[in-house]
């Protein structure tokens, strides 16, 4: 073996993100629902052992006793049967039927969904058309029809309710399976020798389980209501057996003389279904992966900034935009992720500054922090300043920030398909971008939009302005985003990996275009990338980031030819050179430190080949090496 890189173990750590159970309890309504449901379940389970009179024992002398009568807390019904006992036994029946029907519907529906989604083709067509037919009937009518055919009775009501609920499971499960089927891990399982049945059971089913549980939790309440409905109509439980619906049905006739006979089962149904639904909503929120990531909180319009970061500007600003010791953190649960650790830099007018780093180095978060675009929560700007025209951007009013965003300071993102609105034509989106900042009539703005599209060299711009983003190729879409960034004569364009998603020949075109336009408009460019080739081609100066820190900054040519920080040096060596063959590719062993557990000293120490004890003892400061170059390494001077 020539490789020696034995992986550093990842420290097993509890994630700061709350688990499903914790999320469930954080939702107070769901917790309330759970407690209510548990209480009801407990009562119902111990019913046979409670000192209650027989629910079917009639005593005509004691008929229609009001509530709180002696020996009968909830009174008696028209045949003198104890209401409390009947309600508890009835709830037992209703719950048993509701839950059993749910389980039956879930098993059959999920099986249909799994088979239809996984195998597709004719099987999918046949099964799903069957489901469509079930869904074409109003379901209570269908349930009535089924009971009418099978005859009244509790078991038949259960079948009817299970059948009408199969489509909900089948459709939900099929939808998920169709996307899962095309995931690479399914292909991988197939190549590992697993057959279709094994893949369905052991690869796909575990991933569909949350969806089944969510659907169950949201339908079980319905099913109890439906059972009650059928029994109310006399089609479910047959006397003397009673469930909540049939008790309610019998009490209906006495509503004037003895309202409690109908009211109490109604109330119990209400409480039962309500608690199940509250819990169901909570379960859905806790299990839904999108909501788990914190999407339940609507992100604020700008990143939350601590008072320290909002302080007024002291002293003279450097260049067009200056960043001073910016510190952005993510507060997730009880953990703090220090994404950006006090980088300071500035951009001159008309300059292109490259920011290079690997994933997790904080380069994008730095760029997003400039105009408060980091989602809050969890992002917080803890300290530092972003200075533009002698204003601290973290402290300016929302109005001023809105004016700057997309105006004098514009962004271009990596994936134009997710930043352009899919339902508006590209022309309309350009018009909107211009009219948000300038007083222009729609017609004038449209004309300017066409000019902008011409400026970014989109052939046949007049026609192309009328198309939707998905009708354009990736390269053309990125041109549209560039046009949008240029729409309001920006002073600074912040481009976050604008060519990473593009093919190499398209990338070459986009880079050339960006360079030309920047020169024509005399705008500054902040170019975030992980590619040294792109930096060499585009940038005047480059800043290298590692673990949220700026480790080195300087003019591109000098820095690439003679890097002062060991990380820069080794990272450059890692890039496979297209012009020559290296016998062995250089690698950097290990992994970057986790930003929620950063070392005190040099953050690169664990992977550095010239590390000394001194490196780990205290934070290493960014040191000026020449007028233009700085590096964060105690040996940097010796290298230069």
């Amino acid at each position: 073996m020539t490789t020696t890189a034995v992986s550093t173990p990842i420290i097993p750590k509890r994630s700061g993100r709350a688990g499903p159970l914790k999320l469930l309890f954080r939702n107070q309504l769901a917790a309330f629902g759970l407690i209510m449901l548990l209480l009801i379940l407990l009562l119902v389970l111990i019913t046979p052992w409670l000192p209650l009179p027989d629910p079917d024992a009639t005593a005509l002398s004691k008929r229609l006793l009001p509530i709180f009568s002696e020996g009968h807390w909830l009174g008696t019904d028209q045949l003198g049967r104890d209401m409390l006992s009947r309600i508890l036994w009835g709830t037992r029946v209703s719950l048993a039927v509701g839950i059993t029907a749910t389980l039956v519907a879930a098993s059959i529906g999920s099986l249909i969904g799994l088979l239809a989604g996984y195998f597709g083709g004719y099987l999918d067509g046949t099964l799903m058309r069957g489901i469509d037919m079930l869904m074409a009937f109003p379901y209570i009518l269908l349930a009535l029809a089924i009971v009418a055919v099978l005859g009244p009775g509790l078991m038949n009501a259960l079948y009817a309710i299970a059948i009408v609920n199969i489509p909900f499971f089948a459709r939900n499960v099929r939808g998920v399976v169709v996307t899962l089927r095309n995931r690479e891990f399914v292909d991988a399982a197939r190549l590992s020798g697993k057959g279709d049945v094994r893949i369905l059971v052991s690869e796909i089913l575990p991933n569909v389980m949350p969806v089944i549980v969510i659907t169950m939790s949201t339908t079980v309440g319905w099913m109890i209501l439906e059972t009650a409905g059928l029994s109310f109509l006399g089609l479910g439980a047959q006397p003397p057996q009673a469930d909540l619906g049939s008790i309610l049905g019998e009490g209906r006739r006495l509503i004037i003389n003895a309202p409690h006979v109908a009211t109490i089962p109604g109330l119990v149904i209400f409480i039962l279904v309500m608690s199940i639904n509250l819990l169901g909503d909570g379960v859905r929120d806790a299990l839904d992966p999108r909501l788990k990531a914190g999407a339940l909180h609507r992100p604020a319009a700008r990143t939350k900034a601590m008072p320290e970061a909002k302080a007024a500007v002291v002293g003279q600003q450097k260049g067009l935009l200056e960043v001073r010791a910016l510190r952005t953190e993510f507060h997730v649960g009880h953990e703090i992720h220090q994404a950006v650790n006090s980088p300071s830099f500035h951009i001159e007018p008309g300059e292109c500054l490259g920011i290079i780093g690997e994933s997790g180095s904080g380069k994008s978060v730095t760029a997003m922090s400039l105009l408060g675009l980091v989602a809050s929560p969890p992002g917080v700007i803890m300290a530092g300043q972003v200075i533009y025209k002698n204003e601290n951007l973290a402290g300016v009013s929302d109005e001023r920030l809105r004016q700057l965003r997309g105006g004098e300071l514009a962004y271009i993102f990596q994936d134009p398909l997710s930043t352009l609105h899919p339902l508006f034509t590209v022309g309309d989106q350009l018009v909107e971008a211009m009219r948000a900042h300038q007083r222009l009539s729609y017609r004038d703005a449209w004309q300017k939009a066409v000019q902008l599209l011409e400026q970014v060299r989109i052939p046949n711009a007049k026609e192309r302005a009328k198309v939707y983003p998905h009708q354009l190729s990736g390269g053309m879409r990125q041109r549209v985003s560039i046009a949008m960034a240029l729409a309001n004569e920006p002073q600074l364009i912040i481009a976050d990996e604008p060519t990473t998603a593009l093919d190499v020949t398209v990338q070459a075109q986009i880079l050339r275009l960006l360079n030309q336009l920047r020169r024509e408009q005399n705008a500054s460019l902040m170019f975030i990338t992980h590619d040294f080739g792109v930096v060499a081609e585009m940038c005047d100066r480059v800043a290298v980031m590692y673990a949220g820190e700026l480790v080195e900054i300087g003019p591109v040519k000098e820095l690439l030819e003679n890097p002062a920080h060991p990380y820069t040096r080794r990272l450059i060596a890692c890039v496979p050179d297209v012009t020559k063959v290296q016998p062995q590719l250089t690698e950097i062993p290990g992994l970057p430190p986790q930003v929620n557990n950063l070392p005190v000293g040099c953050k690169f120490a664990d992977r550095c080949d010239q590390v000394t004890d001194r490196c780990r003892q205290a934070p290493v400061e960014l040191e000026a090496l020449t007028d233009e170059r700085q590096a964060r390494c105690i040996f940097a001077r010796e290298v230069l």
Partner: protein, 327 residues
């Protein structure tokens, strides 16, 4: 004998007629690819998105079946049109390494479960054999065996990709298809995986088919290279020939486009580049609309791969010469 021999492989999707006998659209993904891979070599396949390189890879491992053409491995037919593929048998010879290490590992399974599958179903090992082999595999890819009981999300991209490599090795294949195995990884980690792959090839005398769009990686990793454009191979030869003496203008265009490498031998491309339509492939050379040297003939006839120098073929009527100028 070649390890792998592909003849005139074609893959089309869709097509046929609907109930009203109207023609349905048909995508031409791979349009006649012939290749041979020698035992123990690394053949690189280079091309941009949509050129059919991933479809080609999926046909080689049996995840897709070809519309036309033949695939022979060690002289035995692996897959042919309208023949059911015996995936279990094929998977013991050919394995696949996916581009995105995280999406190719089931998030709800431990590494032990993931790696056990090929040992159990392809190699028929019992429990004790498997336990032993799992430890060996983890060691081979430089991961600690304690990691076996972790879930995929606990691993970084580079580690997850090494698990992907271990899973492929578990099947004890002769041929590995690597579909952009490092393009989702950071440069510093990319080298770890590439060096590991090189070492493993030596140790287990494997043959690699390495698909990538990163020319730097291909130059440094591959022995021979085939360049694909729009479902066809337009040039093939040793890595050295392809990178130093490209013959096809498209290959030169790719090299010119590498940022910072400063080849730039062709005039810059116009902004109105027309990409061929996969529903209606052109009659002539598909690169002709983008080619600075295209002549009338290029629009009319499609050039075949012809030998330019020994072991160096290009499909071009007007190839570049050694000084990167046209004849």
């Amino acid at each position: 004998m070649s390890k792998l021999e592909i003849t005139d492989l074609v893959k089309r999707y869709g097509g046929g007629k609907n109930l009203l006998r109207q023609e349905l659209p048909m995508v031409h993904a791979v349009r006649g690819v012939s290749l041979d891979v020698k035992p123990g070599e690394i053949l690189g396949i280079v091309g941009e998105s949509g050129c059919g390189k991933s479809t080609l890879a999926k046909m080689l491992v049996g995840l897709e079946s070809p519309t036309e053409g033949r695939i022979l491995m060690d002289g035995v037919e692996l897959s042919a049109p309208r023949k059911k593929i015996n995936l279990k048998k094929l998977s013991q010879q050919v394995q696949y390494i996916f581009q995105d290490p995280n999406s190719s590992l089931n998030p709800r399974k431990t590494i032990r479960e993931i790696l056990s599958a090929p040992l159990k179903y392809l190699r028929g090992m019992d429990n004790t054999e498997r336990e032993q082999r799992l430890k060996e595999l983890m060691e081979k890819v430089n991961l600690r065996s304690e990691f076996l009981d972790r879930y995929p999300h606990e691993f970084s991209g580079g580690q997850a990709q090494r698990i992907g490599v271990a899973r492929a090795l578990a099947a004890e294949p002769d041929l590995l298809i690597l579909d952009e195995p490092v393009s989702a990884l950071d440069v510093s980690v990319q080298a770890q995986v590439l060096n590991l792959l090189k070492a493993l090839r030596q140790e287990f005398s494997l043959t690699y088919l390495f698909i990538s769009h990163d020319l730097g990686v291909v130059r440094n990793f591959c022995d021979r290279v085939a360049v694909m454009y729009f479902g066809r191979i337009v040039e093939r030869g040793t890595a050295d020939d392809i990178f130093r003496r490209p013959r096809h203008p498209y290959t030169q265009r790719l090299l010119d486009s590498v940022p910072g490498a400063a080849f730039e031998r062709l005039p810059p491309e116009s902004d109105a580049v027309i990409l061929p339509d996969p529903y209606h492939p052109p009659k002539g050379c598909s690169f002709a609309p983008r080619c600075p040297f295209a002549q009338a003939r290029c629009e009319e006839e499609s050039p075949e791969l012809t030998e330019m120098n020994p072991g160096h073929d290009a499909a071009c009527y007007y190839p570049l010469d050694d000084d990167h100028r046209r004849d």
